[in-house]
């Protein structure tokens, strides 16, 4: 297996970069300041066939390999982290269906998702169940050939703009979270479903992070994914793959910060010379660049392994997300430092990049959860894993 980008990958990168530089980057500051979902950019991405890359061609998608999807996210994130969430979450929300859906379910939803006409979101997290997924409380009670949902979800990215969501709920309260959770496809215009509020956040401010309420929402049994009780497994398998999107996002954010810092340092003069010519600054920039490259290459290696469907996939994707997220935070903080006072004001993009970077250490599994996953994989390999893990 090779994960060296091919000329096709390079061409994709060039095309997305042009689009990102001409149409997305100029909007980034406004999106952040107004905290508005960039509907215009969603339409642009849809038009350019960039929201269908994880869907099969028979649904109107372009079925790009995971490395290409990673590069796509990376290039958009370099321009704007908020906008990069559009393709990221489109895949995140669809993955449960990709992994566990029937052909009939895919036929029903994938065409509109691949074209970007519909957005999809992933409804797992609850107010009292973040890292501790198993303590989810939302109930889905069987009634004839429907399930009735009651409860709420929190911190759902795009929850207020999605047309359809994959939602996880407890169908067997006695069995507990791990064995009694099921996955469903819920359409947003279902009566009783609402997205009453969105959070005010430190970063990715243009991405609506919604609270969702389900008040006797009726969902057809035909919308259940897999068997009852398989929800937890589907959720974990989804996250094993989707967290790579966050790794790609983090790499992109870091690269954007490096580019801004280098450009500034090459222009700005102090003490009679360019800031870029001071050895101390050069050391900072070198550390930023080499660490970002390491994160990038690990992300690409993980991407190749997703397509190779290796048995220790979580080891790779969690390592990538762990390293990339921490790198993005460090690099963006250093970028602000390189710009000095100008790095702190909103006229320059690096303060936004630093605020945006933080989320990559938190969502789709905190860095602490990622460490648990990597450790568990290590112990399994060494044959010394704890019983039942």
């Amino acid at each position: 297996m090779t994960y060296l980008p091919t000329s096709d990958h390079d061409e994709l990168r060039a095309v997305v970069r042009e689009l990102a530089e001409e149409r997305i980057a100029p909007r980034a500051a406004e999106i952040d300041e107004k905290a508005e979902f960039p509907e215009d950019l969603r339409q642009l991405l849809a038009q350019q066939d960039l929201l269908g890359t994880c869907f099969d061609e028979r649904y109107g998608g372009t079925a790009l390999d995971t490395l290409a999807q990673t590069i796509l996210v990376e290039e958009i994130a370099r321009a704007d982290a908020t906008t990069s969430l559009i393709p990221i979450v489109q895949k995140l929300g669809a993955l449960p269906i990709i992994l566990a859906g029937t052909d009939e379910q895919k036929d029903r939803y994938f065409p509109r998702l691949a074209s970007g006409e519909w957005l999809i979101a992933f409804g797992l997290t609850e107010a009292a169940a973040g890292s501790d997924v198993a303590s989810n409380r939302m109930r889905a009670v069987r009634d004839g050939d429907e399930y009735v949902f009651n409860g709420s979800k929190r911190f759902i990215t795009h929850g207020s703009v999605a047309n359809v969501l994959t939602v996880f709920a407890i169908t067997d309260a006695e069995a507990g979270g791990r064995k009694g959770m099921s996955a469903f496809i819920v359409e947003a215009d279902s009566p009783g479903f609402a997205a009453p509020r969105v959070e005010h956040k430190m970063g990715i401010r243009g991405s609506p992070t919604a609270e969702l309420t389900f008040d006797d929402v009726r969902v057809p049994a035909a919308n259940r994914l897999g068997e009852e009780g398989e929800g937890f497994k589907i959720a974990m398998e989804t996250l094993d793959r989707s967290r790579l999107g966050i790794a790609a996002q983090a790499v992109g954010i870091a690269q954007g910060a490096i580019d801004a810092a280098v450009s500034y340092a090459a222009d700005r003069q102090q003490f009679g010379q360019r800031v870029a010519d001071f050895q101390g600054i050069q050391w900072m920039l070198a550390d930023m660049a080499s660490q970002t490259e390491a994160a990038r290459q690990l992300t690409y290696a993980a991407a190749a392994r997703v397509d190779a469907d290796v048995p220790d996939l979580p080891y790779w994707t969690s390592s990538a997300k762990l390293v990339a997220g921490d790198t993005a935070m460090r690099v963006t903080t250093d970028a602000v430092q390189v710009l000095g006072g100008y790095g702190y004001i909103t006229e320059y993009p690096v303060e936004r990049m630093m605020r945006d970077a933080k989320i990559t250490q938190l969502y789709e599994g905190t860095q602490q959860i990622q460490r648990l996953i990597v450790a568990r994989q290590l112990l399994q390999r060494a044959g010394v894993a704890k019983r039942g893990s």
């Binding site: 095309v15 350019q48 960039l50």
Partner: protein, 260 residues
């Protein structure tokens, strides 16, 4: 209605460009793009295709092998197929030679409209369209901000000194359009993937029944020297003074030069 769009691959603005020892423009090895003004011609052709007025769009380019990249990018925006004319004898070709070669290729492709952009970014010549029209004995409709086709006739909307005119000619024509056509579309991902499968033919001079001799050894003109431009006197600057004071200084400057 068949449209052939003639495009040129040029060095990207800002890429390092230079003349070689043989006094030729060094094109190989620099980042290359579709001549920006040709993108408007592509966009105009594709709009006519979208509207159903045209039913085929072919791209034509003369250049080194690398120029096939520009043709693939054009195909990624839309259109059906492409032709690249490439031949070692064409190195250093000037405008007349380019026109001669394109005219021969267009006679072979026989479109209703041969569409081109206004000028090329690097050498800034804009005589190729008119020369092609003269060589083929076909009407020229130039500098259009819009092109329409109907009833065996083509029309371009051209800005005049004080308004605009519609200029018409019977088909077939050579037409050129300006950037007022509107923003060229981006190539979509599906477009890029489809472009790889669209036919791209390569023709040499012999395919056009042209011999290098008939092209005067590929150029009627020759560059005999190159030099750096004259040192321009440094720009005078007025800054960090209040507006009324600046105004006085500017007015003094104008008076010194007898402009007021």
């Amino acid at each position: 209605m068949k449209i052939v769009v003639c495009i040129k691959q040029v060095p990207a603005t800002g890429a390092d460009k230079r003349y070689t020892d043989e006094m030729r423009l060094d094109r190989v090895g620099v980042e290359a793009i579709i001549n920006p003004l040709d993108e408007y011609a592509i966009e105009q052709a594709l709009r006519l295709l979208d509207a159903g007025t045209a039913d085929s769009v072919t791209y034509l380019s003369m250049g080194p092998d690398q120029a096939s990249e520009a043709l693939r990018r054009a195909l990624a925006m839309g259109g059906h197929d492409a032709v690249l004319i490439t031949d070692t004898a064409l190195a250093g070709a000037d405008e007349w030679t380019t026109a001669k070669v394109l005219a021969a290729a267009l006679d072979k492709l026989a479109p209703d409209v041969a569409l081109m952009g206004m000028a090329s970014d690097d050498a800034r010549g804009s005589l190729v369209p008119g020369a092609v029209a003269a060589m083929r004995d076909v009407p020229l409709l130039s500098y259009g901000s819009e092109l329409t086709l109907a009833d065996g006739e083509a029309r371009v909307r051209r800005l005049s000194a004080t308004g605009f005119d519609w200029i018409a000619a019977p088909l077939p024509v050579v037409a050129t359009v300006t950037d007022q056509v509107g923003e060229p579309r981006y190539a979509s991902l599906k477009g890029i993937m489809a472009a790889k499968r669209k036919p791209l033919e390569t023709w040499s001079l012999s395919d056009l029944d042209l011999s290098p001799d008939s092209l005067h050894g590929a150029a009627l003109t020759m560059v005999t020297a190159t030099r750096a431009p004259e040192e321009k006197p440094p720009t005078e600057r007025i800054e960090n003074v209040p507006a009324p004071e600046a105004a006085v200084k500017i007015a003094d400057w104008l008076e010194q030069r007898k402009l007021i």
